[in-house]
Each structure stands twice: as structure tokens, then as C-alpha cells.
Subunit: 531 residues, 2 copies
């Protein structure tokens, strides 16, 4: 907006004069070169923070008629960031630092150079024509997916998925011709993970879960959660969820809590974390679960180490690790017996008609009800969810290595659903067209959901070993010891380690072990369902 | 923030790939050169919109602990914008377009080139050393002013004001060595105005107002507004002010209305205008007045012509014109008899204890009470306010041309207060240290407040002539005809004209005429105070 008459502008002008500060030459001295690199990375981080704020505002605050202007703003900022991310001087700095004498960079600096160098390669690898083709495809494929889903007709979407496969293969080849294409894409979401490792992990999970699900199904015993439904005042729900988020440790000095159509956690900086929740009149438990999930994401962000503020080493390690923090709080804490003891009095106080006569054990059972295996990923529970993910992983990995043809997707999808979950989708809309991800070309994204669930189990087990009074603390609503443990072992480390396995080794004593996850599910559900 | 696990990010990625789009050479063809210019200006406008959003968020939404990170974000964005505003290719484009054959640019394009060329000169005129000196002085002088005001001791602030005078003289000389230095500064806030013209205007206002104020004072008759005070529920006040803003024409499809510590209007774009209000428990009229004022600013922003979106010609013409739009609604409409007829039933309905027995005439009288001439500018009424401004103008103009010495400011301030308003401040804190503006080096800013008041009177008089039923419409709460008139005559024109006088000539038939303002005040207050 132009200048205007409000008196506020007087203060606003007190930060207006800036000069060019970034150097254009590469210093010979390693320390100076590293400082020059950090200056550029911090500038990019600050611009990225602005981008985060624009995204949050668009979801939570922006008036509906501002969509076009917001698009122009995001485009302008993306253009600025693209220019800075691909600046040849940044590349020259990174080349010089990669050749720095051994020992001249400490572990943090080495991690900064490692991740920044990878980002630079990814930012510069694509020729303009390919970048434009991808941008166009993002729009066109999304539109085709919407149409295909409405018509429940995969053939409308198939040509676009074929182009995504082609484009993604080409992109992967340009970034790293030596690695399997799927691994290159996977690295965007789960740093350092390979499909060979993921094959092993997911095979073990699949083999462990298919019989468990079949056993629960054949047992036939149902847990009752219908009594938790009713009519719950929205403001009372919001106040309760805020109390829970604050009890868990969300810091409103460095964050905000709002309501939005889809709950999410975003923001501009570890000191400015914006989480949102959503409430339904008839289901108080869904709002609470969502709030706990987002609080887990928010605590990870707020727990970052400000000593390395603005450097890549201080960002989230991966999407899987981020999801581990939301799922640790949502499932390992929020769906546990001790948490039911903490939660029940809060529910009784606010919603006595529904919860007045309940016991903590009844609440625990209701929270852990397994319904009929759902056809829809986002509606499924913690036992069946991983198989939805593994199915998608197997298909998208096959698309990338050529062993799966796009036209076979609907048939393969339905066969795998039947074999893993004992249910066949009645239509493409409820089958292979249900998720938006592939329409945006996101291959390698799905696995992070289940990696997060597994990391969460393993991290919680390590915390419980280190904190003998943990369950008593949770019962008493004292979550500070667990939060402090996570701050020290996970949050503060940011992106220092090269992979989730490395982080798990440092934090829990060993790499990701699916057996921990399977044992947790087997023990919990064998007991609940008396298998 | 780094990548994270929330599913929302899937959508967020659908706008990520951008390439460099701006050309680097200057096209020979005028049309192509103009298009290249517009592309750059629109990018700068989009980045400026982001800057506006950051400012709004900081005032209204940002958690308190995020101040440091927000500072880094603003600094990074300011650096980006500085680089783009001072890009030599932009300068070369402007040079080429200034030499374009007569008639090859239409009126809008000519105005775009005119204003963009001026901005470029201002952005590039200052050597780095001077820009850094100004940036440092903004911080140091503000700190000294705070200290001086607390101690009520001008001598603490005097050395910094001296440096501001020196720095501002140097800045003005670098931008335009041929113009009087004060005129160069004034142009930042009131495009196209000169101090010679302002001398004439303000002398006429001063000579007209001093006797009117003396007459009101000697008349001794007081209008009673104490009965409008009471205790008013804050939520009821907020709902009432929202209703009024919507009735006046504020468009929530393209804007938001929030509560903040200081009411202001900001935002990111004419389609994304964010206004705020503030309420006091004991004074409902203050909240209403503030809301009407900000609605006036907001309607000006929302009324801009999107055909010229992102070009300088579509920004506000000046701060004085912006203030004219807030004051037109606040004073010419909001403090009028017809508006009291519209407002009273709304007040009776919500606050019957206070307003149940009142008449519209009593409400009108209470709203227009003149208290003892206040020593403080921001607390004064529409009759005495201009003299506060004229006093500041005379002093800052004297500082710039050397006829006033910094050390004489407290004495001259107090003498002028006595001579214009018949009251002498008991201390520097309540005198020459009361306003923040000079600590930020803002010379030329103060006059825009009173220019706005005068423009408002003259614009309203022209509207009333064109809209014969205007007073009836206001009584009936139908503000659409006035808003449409302002849209067409003022808002849509943006910055097309070269000065406030030019705009006034186009919209009202003649340049700014202080006699219109004086007649309005004399008529209104002679009647109210039976002079």
C-alpha cells in the first residue's frame, strides 16, 4: 500500500535505510568464507520465514478477495529467493568450503556446508524449460485430478501422472545421475534415506501388521466409542484444547494458537510458531487429538537451538522426524492410559453430560477403538494406517523404476488393498484417486507419515527408559520432563545429523527398528482386544 | 521454518518453481521499455505489499517474543527492495522513457514514469555513508528523545535534533540541489507541494483561527459531553463499530477488521486492507470516532483502480489526501447533525442507560464539545488542532532554512503556544518533546494532518453540491452515494495528478482554498457556541 495518513507510520519508518551487505567475492580464508556463507544462508532463512508467514496468513487471516494479490506477492518472493538460492557466488563459496582442509570446520559448520551444498545442487540442477514444465504440470495435473476424482475415473488423471513420472525421473537424473531416481526424490522429504533401506523396513512392518489386523478383525470384539459423541460447545472445546496445549508446553510468548479450516502448524521462526486447531460440534475427541498433534509439531519448532538461528543445521531434520514429534504426543502420550487419567477430569468438568460417569479405562478404550479397516487413509487408525502408506510407497517406487505402469495403478491399488486390509475400494475416487499428493508430483512424501509413527514409538521408549517417573508425571499433567528430554535429544539437534537413522542412533542408541513399533502395536491391541 | 509433517504442506508446494523473468537490457521501443518498467514496478509493489503485511502482523498478531526474528525478516526484505529500487537497469529504463517522443506515453504512463523517476532519484541519491548515518541516527535519536521526554529536558535531545537538521539538509541537497531543502523533504509526504505555497495557506488559516478560538474561549459557554461517559461493554462496542464500518462501505471480502493497541489501517493490497480499532470501557464515542476515521483510510485503499494494479499511479497521492479521506468521514460525516440522527438509535439500542433519553441534537453538541485548548496535539479538537500543526511547521521550516536554531526551540515553542492558543506548556515534555516525529527525522510530515482536514472540507462541499440528497441519505444510514462519489472523484485516481492542488482542481473545481475550511469552522462553531 502507498503512504497514508495514520500516525502509526511514524514508527514504521524507523527501519527503512539498508544497503547492500553481501560480499561478491569468495574469501580465501576458510573462516571468512564460512561467515560469508552464513550471512547468505541467514538472509535466505529470513526470507523463508516471511514466506511461512504469508502461508499462515493466507490460511488463517487473509480476506477471501485477496487471493490474486497474495499470489503475486508469493510469486515475487519466490522469484527473489530463487535468484538468491541459485546465485553463482553462493555456489563458489560452497565449492571452496567443500575443499576446506580437514578439521577446519567443526561438526555444525560441516553440517551447514553439507546441507547448503545439497540445496544449491537441487536449486540449480533444473534448466528453465524443465522448471517451467513442472510449474505448468502442477496446475494442470491438479485440475485433472480434481476432475478425475469427481468423475471417479482414473483415465482422466493418467496422462498427467505419466508426465509426472517422466518429469520426476528427469529431475532426479539432473540432481544425481548416480543414485536411483526414487532415492533422489525421497531425500527432499526424508534426508539420507534410501529405497533399499525403506524396502527392508516396510517389508517388516507389512509382515507384522497384516496378521495383527486379521486377528483383530476375526476377534470381532468391538470397543465402544459411541458414548463419547454428543454436542459440545465450540468455545468450551477451544478453551480446553488451549489448556491442553499450554500444559504440554506450547509457549504463547513465541507462538499463537488460532482456529482454521484445516489444523496445521506454520509460522515464521522458532520464536514465532503459529498452530491452528479445528472443532466439530459432535466430536470433542477429534479436536483434542488434532490439538495434541499440532502441539507436537509446534514444540519441535519452538525447541530449536537459537545459537544456530537461520542456518540449515537449525531446521527440521526431515518430515518423518517432524511427524514423529506430532505423533509422539498424539499417540504415545495422548492415547495412553496415564493421559486418560489426566484428561478425564478436564472433560468431566466441561462436559458432564457425556463424561460425568465415565472411567479413565473407558475413555482409554474409546480412544483406541479400531473400526472396520477404512478405505480412506486419512480416516484410518494407527494399526491400519501404515499399510495405506506401504501400498502407496510400493506403487510410486514401481512407477519410478519402471516396474509399475501408470495404467495398472487402479488394478494394483485394489489388489493390494484386498491383500493388506481385506477390503476392495468400490471406485477410483475411494481408491487410487483419494489423495492429492501425486497430482502435485510428490513422490517420496508418503513414507514419512509411517516413518514418523515408528520414530515416535522408538523415541518414546527411550524417553521412558531415561525418565522412570514418566507415566506418573503424565497422569499428574506434568509434561515438562518429557518436553525437556525431547528438547535436548531431538529438537535442539535440528538438522545436524545426516539422516533419521543417525538421529535415532544418537537419541535412542540404535537406528530405526520397526520391531519396536510392531511390539508396541501388538502389546497394546492384544491387551485391548484380548487376542 | 523448515519442512514439516503437516499435510497442509502438500498444497503449499504448488507454487514453488520460479525463474528469473526480468529483462536486463533496455528495449529501444518505447512500448516495450514501458512494459519492462511496469514489470519491475509491479514486482516492487508486490514486495511492498509483503512489507505491509509484516507491519500489520507485527502490530496485531505477532507473539511478543518474535520481535528479533521479525527485525531480521524486515531487514532482509528491505535489503531486497533496496537492491531492486536502485538497480541501474531500472535507472536506464527511466532515462530512456523520459526521452520518449511526446505523445508516445498516455497520461497514466506519463504519471508512472514521472513518479518512478522521482523515486529512483530518491533511492539512489544517498551515498552509503549517509544512509548508514541516517539509520544509526534513527535509533540513537529515538532513544535520546525517550530519555529527554522522561526527564522533560530538551537539552538531552538537542544534539540529535541538530544532527537531523544537518543530515536532512545534506539529503535534500543530494536529491535536488536547486530546490529549497524543506520542499524536497515535504515532497516525500505531500507530493508537489512547496513551502512557499504552504506559507500562504497556513498564514491564512492561522489568521482565521486565532480570533475564533479566542471568541469561543471568551464566550465561556460550555457544551456538555460528560453525560456520554459511562461503562460500555467492549464486545458491544466492537460489534457496533463493525456495523458502522460496514454501513459506511468497508468491504470484508477485501479487508479485515481487528482490535489493536493503536488503531491504524494497513494491509498488503487494495484487495487486502486491514483496519484496526480500539475501545475504552468508559468512552464509547472515542471508539466510534476512531473506527470511522480508520474506515475513511480503508475506503481510500479499497477504492483504488485495479486496472493500474501495482503501478505507482495507483498508490495514494499523498499523506494529506489519505488523511482527507479519514477526516472527511470522521468530521464532515461523523460529527454532523445528520449522522447523529443515524447514530443515536444504534446507541439507544445497545446502551440505553446512557443514551435512552438523549436527543440527536444533544448527541451532536456533545460530539462537538471544545474543551480548554489542550497543550497536546493528539488530544485537541478540530478547531485548535491546525494551530498545533502550524506551530510545528514554522519551527521545522525555520530549522531547515537556518532562521531557527535548535537551542531556541523550547522558547519559541512556548511563545507560539501562548500567542496561538493562549496557553504555555509547564514543561518540555508537554511542549516541544511531546511528538515522536522529529526523533525519526520526519520534517515535512506534520503539515499533512491539517492539509488533510482542509482537503476534507473542500471535497465534502463539492460532494454535497453534486449529491443534493446527501444529508437525507446520511440520516437514513445510506452512505453508498457518497462513497461512490469519492470512489470516482478521489479513490480511483490514485496518484495520477502531480499534487494535491491538481487533484482538488479536478475533483472540486479549484485548488486548495483555506477559506472553505475557515468558513466551515466559523459557521459550525458560531452556531454551536452562539458567538
Amino acid at each position: 500500500m502507498g503512504n497514508r495518513g495514520s500516525k502509526q507510520q511514524v514508527d514504521g519508518r524507523r527501519q527503512s535505510v539498508r544497503g547492500k551487505a553481501t560480499a561478491t567475492a569468495v574469501p580465501k580464508d576458510t573462516k571468512k568464507a564460512y561467515e560469508a556463507l552464513c550471512e547468505r544462508l541467514k538472509e535466505l532463512s529470513a526470507l523463508g520465514g516471511i514466506s511461512g508467514l504469508l502461508g499462515w496468513d493466507e490460511m488463517v487471516m487473509m480476506p477471501p478477495g485477496a487471493a490474486n494479490s497474495r499470489g503475486a506477492q508469493k510469486s515475487a518472493l519466490a522469484g527473489v529467493m530463487y535468484d538468491k538460492k541459485t546465485d553463482p557466488t553462493l555456489g563458489a563459496l560452497l565449492e571452496a568450503l567443500k575443499k576446506a582442509p580437514a578439521g577446519s570446520l567443526d561438526a555444525v559448520a560441516a553440517a551447514v556446508v553439507r546441507d547448503a551444498a545439497k540445496d544449491y545442487i537441487k536449486a540449480t540442477a533444473l534448466p528453465k524449460e524443465l522448471a517451467q514444465r513442472i510449474a505448468r504440470l502442477e496446475t494442470d495435473a491438479y485440475a485433472a485430478w480434481v476432475k478425475a476424482k469427481q468423475a471417479s475415473d482414473f483415465s482422466i488423471f493418467a496422462p498427467f501422472l505419466k508426465e509426472w513420472v517422466e518429469v520426476n525421473r528427469e529431475k532426479a537424473r539432473l540432481i544425481d545421475p548416480a543414485a536411483p531416481p526414487y532415492d533422489v526424490l525421497l531425500d527432499d522429504y526424508e534426508k539420507g534415506l534410501t529405497s533399499a533401506r525403506l524396502d527392508e523396513v516396510f517389508a517388516q512392518v507389512r509382515e507384522g501388521l497384516v496378521p495383527l489386523i486379521a486377528a483383530i478383525k476375526s476377534r470381532g470384539a468391538k470397543l465402544d466409542d459411541s458414548w463419547t459423541h454428543g454436542e459440545f460447545d465450540l468455545e468450551a472445546q477451544a478453551a480446553l484444547c488451549k489448556k491442553i496445549a499450554l500444559d504440554l508446553g506450547f509457549d504463547t510468548e513465541h507462538g499463537r494458537l488460532d482456529v482454521s479450516v484445516h489444523p496445521f502448524t506454520g509460522g515464521a521462526h522458532p520464536t514465532d510458531v503459529r498452530m491452528t486447531t479445528r472443532f466439530k460440534k459432535e466430536d470433542v475427541m477429534e479436536g483434542i487429538t488434532g490439538a495434541i498433534h499440532e502441539t507436537g509439531h509446534a514444540l519441535y519448532e519452538q525447541g530449536r537451538n537459537l545459537e544456530y538461528d537461520g542456518l540449515p543445521v537449525n531446521s527440521a531434520l526431515s518430515m518423518g522426524v517432524h511427524e514423529s514429534q506430532s505423533l509422539l504426543w498424539e499417540r504415545m502420550v495422548g492415547l495412553s492410559r496415564p493421559f486418560a487419567v489426566y484428561l478425564l477430569p478436564l472433560l468431566k468438568e466441561r462436559f458432564p453430560a457425556t463424561f460425568g460417569a465415565a472411567t479413565a479405562e473407558q475413555l482409554y478404550a474409546a480412544e483406541n477403538t479400531i473400526r472396520e479397516p477404512s478405505l480412506i487413509r486419512v480416516e484410518s487408525d494407527e494399526v491400519t494406517y501404515p499399510l495405506h502408506i506401504i501400498l502407496r510407497y510400493e506403487l510410486e517406487r514401481g512407477l519410478m523404476d519402471g516396474s509399475v505402469a501408470v495404467d495398472d495403478i487402479p488394478r494394483l491399488w485394489n489388489e493390494k488393498m484386498q491383500s493388506y486390509l481385506g477390503a476392495t475400494p468400490p471406485s477410483d475416487a475411494k481408491g487410487c484417486l483419494q489423495d492429492v499428493h501425486w497430482s502435485a508430483g510428490l513422490f517420496g512424501y508418503f513414507p514419512t507419515y509411517t516413518l514418523g509413527a515408528m520414530y515416535a514409538t522408538q523415541i518414546y521408549a527411550a524417553a521412558a527408559k531415561d525418565l522412570p517417573g514418566l507415566e506418573d508425571q503424565i497422569r499428574a499433567g506434568d509434561f515438562a520432563p518429557l518436553k525437556s528430554w525431547l528438547n535436548a535429544k531431538i529438537h535442539k539437534l535440528g538438522s545436524l545429523h545426516a539422516s533419521g537413522d543417525e538421529l535415532m542412533t544418537a537419541a535412542t542408541g540404535g537406528p530405526l527398528d520397526p520391531a519396536v513399533f510392531l511390539t508396541y502395536l501388538n502389546t497394546k491391541y492384544s491387551e485391548l482386544y484380548k487376542l
